[in-house]
């Protein structure tokens, strides 16, 4: 087994590179090229490179008029939409640093991010987020201005910012852009650790420009002139942001939506050929096709088509498709695969997957059905891409080989270490946390555990951090939530779960001693916890504890469902080690049925 693998040689980035050059280049060479499509009601409105650059400049001038200086931070809290990109590019054009905030963040998180980053201006999407912002303004004294993307009434909107900027000369913005170099900060993205407050990952123009170039090196050759992208995950997530930058660099027009519930309709309208998604999206597409087929008595056909797709993909991968497989594949291509691709808009060619493990069978299934999914790996701290599968170097179950200029090493304990120009310099104002992840030899410690095969493909096998990663790719630390739950007198143990699940849930055990008293007060004297797990008042009481724990986190991290277990965790059931340490994996498998009911499995 190999312990180190490197990507191809990296040509590097220009000495004066910055993230605005992709757009500048398009404006100079192909100003009328459509680079974005925005939804306006049922219509799609094209945005050319020139229009985009003009709007970005106008907003940037407004920021300059409001006194934003190079290097200062501007918070951006919005769903995925065109204006997110415009605001981000405008902030950087003013020489400032974008601090994205998940639109689902709690007041506590927003306050911390504003306070820690020292953001001087906040751009928020709508009145609700503006109201949330106003509740924490006193904790973020540096934040002197706020502008709303979709304002109502007299609330200042982006148009107000544009008005304010009218007095600023275009050349001021040109100068600020020209002054931006690779070493300058482009963004600070906050990520959750296992304990403590979120930490701000500082990503420079170098980090992000290098990563765009690395991904273009790996996969840019697949891009054709008619390609279109669709972004639908939060742009505060580094995978989505990276995809946006990739599309800007390669001139692929992008559409935006945040309405995951209506993703099928959105796919049908935009008909993207390029997307980046978390595995859950692909699972959903598969599951709904499976469900639809079975509910219309075409189940057996679908199942056969699925196994043929998987077989065809495996044989094709080994370059030995059997004649019978080819024949069956040909038949199902017409019967089934076309329809599946229609569900994805009909044009999908390049799909990137990250943020969690993509099932091997699912990967082969989609490949056999005509959609090749390229799974990659990286972290916010690595801009994000470290490794990626690519045409000609595609191995389902792996996250691919290192991208150019990147070395992956497996430490003695199995931890994945990385070096490359996309690896960040550190956490904002937190040298202690930085020292914990970048060692003296410059290796970044990912906190994930993995293996390299002899061809340099990386496989992720475990995690050193006590973190859950939801199906949406959101990192959630269970320990702080569990601590808050256990603070309730009736709760003895709490096990927060949700790894690769659509949302976070909790298993809760009841303290026997406290329960006795509670039961008496509630007319259940003599009852056992097991008798009362579904008792409405007990559930209501525990729901309060859950609601209290949830105040500390964003909606994406909050506990949506809980199950009260009939008994405490025990050593006899192997849920605790002999020295009373909780074995999460055992607890989860023991209560598989209860967990299945939470997630509707």
């Amino acid at each position: 087994m190999t312990t180190e693998a490197s990507g191809p040689e990296f040509v590097g980035i220009a000495a004066d590179a910055n993230l605005l050059q992709s757009l500048q280049h398009l404006v100079a060479t192909d100003p009328d090229r459509v680079i974005a499509v925005a939804r306006r009601g049922d219509d799609l409105v094209d945005w050319t490179a020139k229009q985009t650059a003009e709007q970005v400049r106008a907003v940037a001038k407004g920021l300059v008029a409001r006194g934003v200086e190079p290097g200062e931070r501007v918070a951006l809290m919005s769903h995925t939409r065109l204006e997110w990109m415009l605001a981000d590019l405008a902030i950087m054009s003013a020489g400032a640093v974008t601090v994205p905030v998940y639109e689902t963040s709690s007041a506590e998180q927003l306050a911390w991010i504003l306070e820690d980053s020292g953001a001087v201006v906040a751009i928020v999407e709508n009145d609700d987020l503006r109201a949330l912002l106003d509740t924490v303004r006193d904790r973020a004294p540096s934040c002197r201005d706020a502008f709303t993307i979709e304002p109502t009434g007299d609330v200042p909107g982006l148009d107000r910012l544009v008005e304010l900027g009218a007095q600023v000369a275009d050349e001021d913005i040109d100068r600020r852009i020209a002054a931006l170099g690779p070493a300058d900060l482009a963004t600070i993205i906050y990520t959750s650790g296992t304990t403590g407050r979120p930490k701000g990952c500082m990503l420079t123009h170098r980090n992000l420009c290098a990563n765009v170039a690395q991904v273009v090196d790996a996969i840019g050759g697949e891009i054709v002139p008619d390609d279109r992208g669709l972004l639908f995950l939060p742009l505060a997530h580094s995978l989505t942001k990276g995809t946006l930058l990739f599309c800007l660099e390669t001139g692929v027009p992008v559409g935006f939506t945040s309405d995951i519930a209506h993703l099928p309709e959105e796919l049908a309208v935009v008909r993207p050929s390029v997307i980046a998604a978390v595995p859950r999206i692909f699972e959903k597409v598969h599951n709904s096709a499976h469900h639809n087929a079975h509910s219309t008595r075409k189940g057996p056909i679908f199942d056969r088509a699925e196994s043929v797709a998987v077989r065809w993909s495996k044989e094709h991968h080994d370059d030995k498709v059997q004649p019978w497989t080819a024949a069956e594949h040909w038949v199902f291509e017409r019967l089934v695969y076309t329809k599946l691709r229609q569900a994805l808009g009909g044009e999908m060619r390049l799909a990137f997957s990250g943020g969690g493990p993509l099932g091997v069978r699912l990967t082969h299934f989609f490949d056999g059905a005509g959609v090749c999914i390229y799974e990659g790996y990286g972290l916010t701290e690595t801009s994000p891409t470290l490794t990626i599968n690519r045409p000609g170097a595609w191995r389902p179950g792996s996250v691919g080989r290192p991208v150019a200029g990147t070395t992956i090493r497996i430490a003695d304990d199995g931890e994945i270490l990385a070096k490359g120009p996309q690896v960040f310099d550190g956490y904002w104002h937190n040298p202690t946390a930085t020292a914990e992840v970048i060692d003296d030899d410059g290796w970044f410690h990912t906190g994930d555990i993995g293996k390299l095969d002899d061809q340099g493909f990386l496989r992720i096998t475990g995690r050193k951090k006590e973190l859950l990663v939801t199906a949406a790719g959101k990192n959630v630390a269970p320990a702080p939530l569990e601590d808050r739950l256990r603070a309730h007198p009736l709760v003895s143990q709490a096990v927060v779960l949700g790894d690769q699940r659509p949302f976070i849930a909790a298993l809760i055990t009841i303290d026997d001693e406290a329960f006795t008293g509670w039961a008496q007060e509630h007319g259940l004297a003599g009852a056992s916890v097991g008798d009362a797990v579904n008792h409405a008042e007990l559930r209501a009481t525990i729901a309060e504890a859950v609601a209290d724990a949830n105040t500390s986190v964003s909606r994406a991290e909050s506990i949506r469902e809980f199950v009260i277990l009939p008994r405490d965790l025990t050593i006899d059931a192997d849920e605790l080690t002999p020295t009373l340490k909780v074995r999460r994996a055992t607890v989860l498998s023991r209560y598989e049925a209860a967990i299945g009911s939470i997630y509707g499995a």
Partner: protein, 210 residues
């Protein structure tokens, strides 16, 4: 804690720490029950988390029953008292529980109050614990250790421990205790155990810097 000064317990031993402080180390006795419950409340949340992973905010009677049940050849616990301090508080406990599947193995764990950490108390406790273990025919300690205790794991590795990934956040550690009949100079064994225990001290305790 009058009973500790009686030193009627056969294995009681007064140990002088590197900083000159003294502790008394002995087997856990039934009379220590209240002390254990009270001192648990003094542990920092982080110390509790690293010890239990998902720690209760107090030790219930049932947990105490379990933790106090150390009679017989399968369970053992040793405690340390700071005999120079007011009230001679109990400041640390180390224990093992023999594996049901593999009687040559025992799972070990140790806890020291935050403010007494980094003084070699866990080391001392583990010395005694390992002595008991070998006398009871145990050849291997296992432990579940959070990966965030990087120093501990490095130290354990230096001692030859096998460290393997377990569930997210957790490393599973195996460390061979030399058999009592192996001819190994006592000094080497002691030294090795001291290294082992010192690392454990760093980990468990969590905030050792005084």
């Amino acid at each position: 804690m009058a009973e500790i000064t009686e030193v009627s317990v056969p294995d009681a031993e007064v140990v002088t720490l590197a900083d000159g402080g003294r502790i008394l180390v002995r087997s856990l006795l039934p009379s220590d029950r209240d002390e254990l419950a009270e001192r648990y409340l003094e542990l920092s949340p982080e110390a509790r988390r690293l010890r239990f992973f998902n720690a209760p905010d107090h030790l219930s009677e049932r947990l105490l029953d379990y933790l106090m049940d150390v009679d017989g050849p399968d369970r053992c616990a040793v405690v340390a008292f700071a005999i120079d301090d007011d009230g001679t508080p109990g400041v640390g406990v180390a224990r093992y529980v023999r594996s049901r599947e593999d009687p040559d193995c025992a799972e070990a764990a140790v806890t020291v109050l935050d403010r007494y950490q980094n003084r070699g108390i866990a080391t001392t406790l583990l010395h005694q614990l390992a002595d008991h273990a070998r006398a009871d025919g145990i050849s291997t300690f296992t432990a579940s250790v959070m990966w965030e205790n990087r120093k501990l794991l490095d130290g354990l590795r230096a001692f030859g421990a096998e460290v393997a990934p377990s569930e997210p956040g957790v490393a599973s550690v195996r460390i061979a205790l030399p058999a009592p009949d192996v001819v190994l100079p006592e000094t080497d064994l002691r030294r090795a155990l001291r290294i082992f225990a010192a690392r454990v001290d760093e980990m468990i305790g969590l905030r050792f810097e005084r």
